[in-house]
């Protein structure tokens, strides 16, 4: 992790039963702020943005002190360099899209404003909407315009408070894809509130879980979702193996992909050319382990590897298996570790169904 760009240490009493009390540092990454309604996530964002003045503490962004209760400093909103998007787009209804995008660029040379508006509009996929009034846009378009407006002045920090929760599936995917794309180009540190594990996995490099005003857990989205996921919806609560790969060949009813530095996998037919780069994802739960080569199984992939490490936590265990330069995570119950005699260095066969290999586009 690089040098922290945002350092926050503050306490703020929201009401009798909720006090925000956090101490954290964030570098150039997308941090997911996860937690149930009423945990104080939105309040924390508003405290950082300066919409609410914290009771005490200190907030520092890059080399700027935004708030310091000791020297009674509370930087005005206009000098914070923070972009904010909400569930509710806050477009200026009396200005066209282009004027909304240029709103935060006041005072800069005309040519610079024009080129920056064009650039950010293209990145956010709203370049065909520049003449339109906000009232004529769809919900998804409005949110993308809101994102572009927030990013146009190149903020030092982007805060997102459930920006997709009012959108339909298409609008969600579109906004998330745009946000991911802009983040790749501009690298703006981002804090993103959501209660959707899918969004967390799609966007986040770090995930913070907030409960009753404090950060109770921090880690990668995978680790954290594994620890805090809802037990009855285990679909997403499992570790993922994600590898880059290319399409190797097409067979009758299936395709073959070659994982970079790893084995070849059989997957359901892909409608792409041989050589297309892909990202493949296999859930750690979807892999079985065997000590010897097994025959007559419905699973299409049997991959030989070596046990690297065994991590136990609670009533499950994760076995790390190395094949070539790729390391796989396989979830098993602890009993299986004992019964199969799994130890570091042992040879194992990973059994993976073709349908257990999920293909993600490489550019997402």
């Amino acid at each position: 992790m690089s040098e922290p760009r945002l350092k926050i240490k503050l306490t703020h009493c929201v009401h009798e039963t909720l006090t925000i009390d956090v101490d954290l540092a964030i570098s150039q990454e997308c941090v997911i702020l996860f937690g149930r309604s009423g945990a104080g996530k939105s309040t924390l964002l508003r405290l950082i943005a300066g919409l609410i003045r914290p009771d005490s503490g200190r907030i520092q962004l890059d080399h700027h002190c935004l708030f310091d209760s000791q020297i009674r400093k509370h930087a005005p909103l206009r000098s914070r360099g923070i972009g904010l998007i909400y569930q509710d787009d806050l477009l200026f209804p009396h200005l066209c899209v282009a004027a909304n995008l240029g709103f935060g660029l006041k005072g800069r040379p005309r040519g610079e404003v024009v080129s920056r508006v064009a650039e950010i509009a293209r990145l956010c996929g709203v370049d065909h909407l520049l003449d339109r009034a906000p009232a004529t846009l769809s919900g998804g378009e409005r949110q993308r315009v809101g994102l572009a407006r927030a990013l146009a002045p190149r903020p030092r920090l982007l805060l997102c408070d459930e920006p997709v929760s009012a959108l339909d599936l298409e609008g969600r995917q579109s906004l998330i894809a745009r946000l991911a794309a802009v983040r790749r180009v501009e690298g703006t540190p981002t804090i993103y509130i959501t209660h959707s594990p899918t969004e967390a996995l799609a966007l986040g490099s770090t995930m913070l879980v907030m409960e009753a005003g404090t950060i109770i857990d921090r880690g990668t989205p995978l680790e954290v979702l594994g620890r805090h996921g809802a037990t009855s919806m285990a679909d997403w609560s499992s570790a993922q193996n994600v590898f880059t790969s290319v399409i190797d060949s097409h067979l009758a009813n299936e395709s073959r992909i070659k994982i970079d530095g790893g084995p070849t996998l059989i997957v359901p037919t892909l409608m792409r050319a041989v050589g297309t780069p892909l990202v493949v994802r296999v859930r750690a739960d979807d892999i079985l382990l065997a000590r010897s080569q097994v025959e007559g199984l419905s699973a299409r992939n049997i991959v030989e590897g070596t046990v690297d490490q065994i991590v136990r936590h609670g009533d499950e265990a994760e076995v790390l298996v190395r094949t070539g330069s790729a390391t796989w995570v396989v979830s098993v119950v602890p009993t299986a570790v004992t019964e199969l005699g799994l130890n570091p260095g042992v040879e194992v066969f990973m059994i993976i169904k073709a349908r257990g290999c999920h293909i993600l586009d490489a550019d997402v």
Partner: protein
């Protein structure tokens, strides 16, 4: 015939001054009432719309008590500046301003309240100063409501009868406004003058209502689509 319209011309002048007075004083007041929370806000807000339901003669009576040549303010002004407020056009402006004030205050307050503070915060986060936020976000979103209020107040000031009569009296060419002239014409059986003035005043009132209706933001406008 021409002199029939002297009261109308006088009324228009008085109402114009009254409207300016109302907007200059009422603009900031309505904004404070819409935006700032303070103790006694309900009381002050209520007192300011009292002229809407207070009998105009009661209003006139109070104004006479305060502004009259024996009143607290009237006496002071007369002794220091030699200025007399009652039974002259100044009194008519003051009386009709106060009577018409609530008709500006109510829509103006709604107009300010209709501008979401979140939008202003968005403008601030985009680097704008308070003045810039006001001129580029708040005012453009509120001005239709303010304009509607100003037009309504103008119409109400134009039509004031009771308060003006009490404070300014009925002095031809000085304080005989159109509504008072209509009363006189009817009392004296001068139907033709009454009809002409009534027609002119009705047209003005209808025009004002039409303008106010056009300027009045529909519930959805100014905040969201």
């Amino acid at each position: 015939m021409l002199s029939d319209f002297a009261p109308l011309w006088l009324s228009l002048q008085i109402a114009t001054f009254a409207t300016c007075l109302i907007v200059v004083i009422g603009g900031p007041i309505s904004m404070v009432l819409a935006r700032v929370s303070f103790a006694g806000k309900g009381l002050i807000g209520g007192a300011l719309i009292l002229p809407l339901v207070l009998p105009p003669t009661v209003l006139g009576y109070y104004l006479l008590q305060v502004l009259g040549r024996e009143g607290w303010i009237g006496q002071g002004l007369e002794h220091t500046l030699g200025m007399i407020l009652v039974f002259n056009p100044v009194g008519a402006v003051i009386a009709s301003s106060i009577a018409a004030f609530p008709l500006f205050l109510l829509p103006a307050r709604s107009a300010w309240e209709g501008v979401k503070p979140d939008l202003e915060d968005a403008a601030r986060l985009l680097g704008r100063s308070e003045l810039s936020v006001f001129t580029s976000v708040t005012l453009p979103l509120a001005w239709r409501g303010l304009a509607a209020g100003a037009v309504l107040a103008f119409a109400r000031a134009l039509g004031d009868f009771g308060a003006t009569l009490m404070v300014a009296g009925d002095i031809p060419d000085r304080t005989r406004t159109a509504p008072i002239a209509i009363y006189n014409a009817v009392s004296m059986g001068d139907s033709a003058t009454a009809a002409r003035l009534t027609f002119a005043m009705s047209m003005l009132a209808i025009t004002a209502l039409w303008l106010a209706g056009r300027a009045q933001p529909s519930p959805a406008r100014g905040s969201r689509s």
